[in-house]
């Protein structure tokens, strides 16, 4: 039997599930669908949810009373494992009775689900950067330098994002570390008479930062009719790209001033 308390609890669960999904980079339509599915499964009427990357708004009706919820959202990362787990949870929640406390406890465990160990993340970031250098026409040495640079870029981003959730700072820092290391490493090799291409190293190592998935998801949202969230994601992608470019250019210009452009 539905009571005001159980309605409130269902809303809690729905909004919490939606929040976890959105924070971990789920598409907005998936979040809306999940919230509407969870609420409708408990007999709530007129369930409407409006989701944009910076917030969730929803309302529903029960016995002539309106319930509404607003949740402000900040900082989106991409964590596909958590999205998949919330997806599985919502499917189970719709088909069977799960008590409120159990459901919230399960969502909390999902929210704090472990990532891969940091060292493995750094290593795979390095590998990705190194092989992107190869794809863009680099040789084995340039790939190795891109691996080292990219490894350090992912380390930098990891360290900065522990202190602040601002996307601008971490991308700026990543871009600066990337270019500094790329220049230092290639100049180091120049002393031994080997001349790796600095640009290839920078390009490869910048790949773990660049917002390729963001811009694609943004246009995907726009084309499917979610204009507000599409525009919001486009703004995010441009901000990220600008931050990286600023970081790279600052170091390149400093190098130009200090050494007179001898790369």
């Amino acid at each position: 039997m539905l009571t005001r308390k159980s309605v409130r609890e269902t809303l809690d669960i729905a909004i919490f599930a939606g929040q976890i999904m959105l924070e971990n980079g789920a598409e907005t339509y998936r979040v809306e669908e999940t919230i509407e599915r969870i609420c409708s499964s408990r007999g709530l009427k007129n369930v409407h949810s409006f989701t944009i990357p910076t917030g969730i708004f929803m309302s529903c009706t029960f016995e002539g009373h309106d319930f509404s919820y607003v949740r402000r959202m900040k900082a989106i990362i991409i964590d596909l494992h958590i999205i998949s787990m919330v997806n599985a949870f919502s499917r189970q929640f719709v088909t069977e009775e799960i008590p409120y406390e159990d459901a919230m406890a399960r969502l909390k465990t999902i929210k704090h689900a472990p990532h891969y160990p940091p060292l493995l993340q750094f290593f795979s970031g390095g590998i990705a950067g190194g092989f992107f250098a190869v794809i863009y026409g680099g040789n084995a040495l340039e790939a190795l330098l891109a691996f080292v640079t990219s490894f350090m870029v992912v380390v930098t981003v990891y360290l900065i994002s522990k202190k602040t959730r601002a996307f601008f700072l971490k991308n700026l820092g990543g871009g600066m570390i990337n270019t500094t290391l790329a220049i230092l490493l290639t100049q180091g090799f120049n002393h031994f008479g080997v001349y790796p291409d600095t640009n290839i190293v920078i390009i490869g190592a910048v790949m773990p930062l660049v917002p390729g998935v963001s811009i694609t998801n943004a246009l995907r949202d726009t084309i499917s009719g979610d204009f507000v969230s599409g525009m919001s994601k486009i703004a995010e992608a441009f901000g990220i790209a600008l931050a990286i470019a600023l970081g790279v250019v600052t170091v390149l210009q400093a190098n130009l001033l200090l050494t007179g452009g001898v790369l």
């Binding site: 789920a26 598409e27 998936r30 991409i78 964590d79 596909l80 494992h81 958590i82 999205i83 998949s84 997806n87 990532h115 891969y116 493995l120 993340q121 795979s124 970031g125 390095g126 590998i127 990705a128 950067g129 092989f131 992107f132 190869v134 794809i135 992912v154 390009i203 910048v206 790949m207 773990p208 930062l209 660049v210 917002p211 390729g212 998935v213 811009i215 694609t216 998801n217 943004a218 246009l219 995907r220 726009t222 084309i223 499917s224 992608a237 441009f238 790209a241 600008l242 990286i244 470019a245 600023l246 790279v248 250019v249």
Partner: protein, 149 residues
């Protein structure tokens, strides 16, 4: 040829770990990425258009991702997001910003426009495959329920 696919496979798996995809799905997402990249590279020599090649490549990524999603009972996103990594124009967007900071606006506009077009092409391809996947699913479901009644 096989080497290019291998490189794309490794790039994709690297990103798959950064995106924290479940351990059991890493290899499949790598295969998705490698197939997409292979088609993209070959399409470029035939079609001589980066944008259209990106569409074809992403279409393959979408189909393979949907197939894996049905087999492993996971949302298709798990395979598609890492799969499009070699194709996505993140570098182009960065390059456009780099050139605009350096006052080279012609190069910035050229690269920026190409980035947006490639991103639209990939987005269209992914939307098409997802919708086709849903249509097939509802069609199969309807047929099943009709044969039961």
């Amino acid at each position: 040829m096989i080497l290019t696919a291998l490189y794309a496979f490794i790039c994709t798996t690297g990103f798959a770990i950064l995106f924290n995809i479940p351990k059991k799905n890493i290899v499949q997402s790598g295969i998705t990425g490698a197939l997409g990249w292979l088609v993209y590279v070959n399409a470029q020599t035939v079609l001589e258009s980066i944008v259209f090649s990106a569409f074809v490549g992403a279409f393959v990524v979408g189909i393979v991702g949907e197939v894996f999603a049905r087999i492993y009972k996971e949302p298709g996103t798990i395979f598609v997001v890492p799969g499009i990594i070699p194709l996505v124009p993140g570098y182009g967007l960065y390059y456009a910003m780099l050139k605009s900071v350096e006052n080279d606006y012609a190069a910035a506009v050229q690269s920026g426009l190409e980035t947006v077009l490639v991103a639209i092409a990939i987005a269209c391809a992914i939307i098409s495959t997802t919708s086709i996947g849903r249509m097939i699913k509802t069609w199969l479901f309807q047929r099943q329920s009709r044969s039961q009644s």
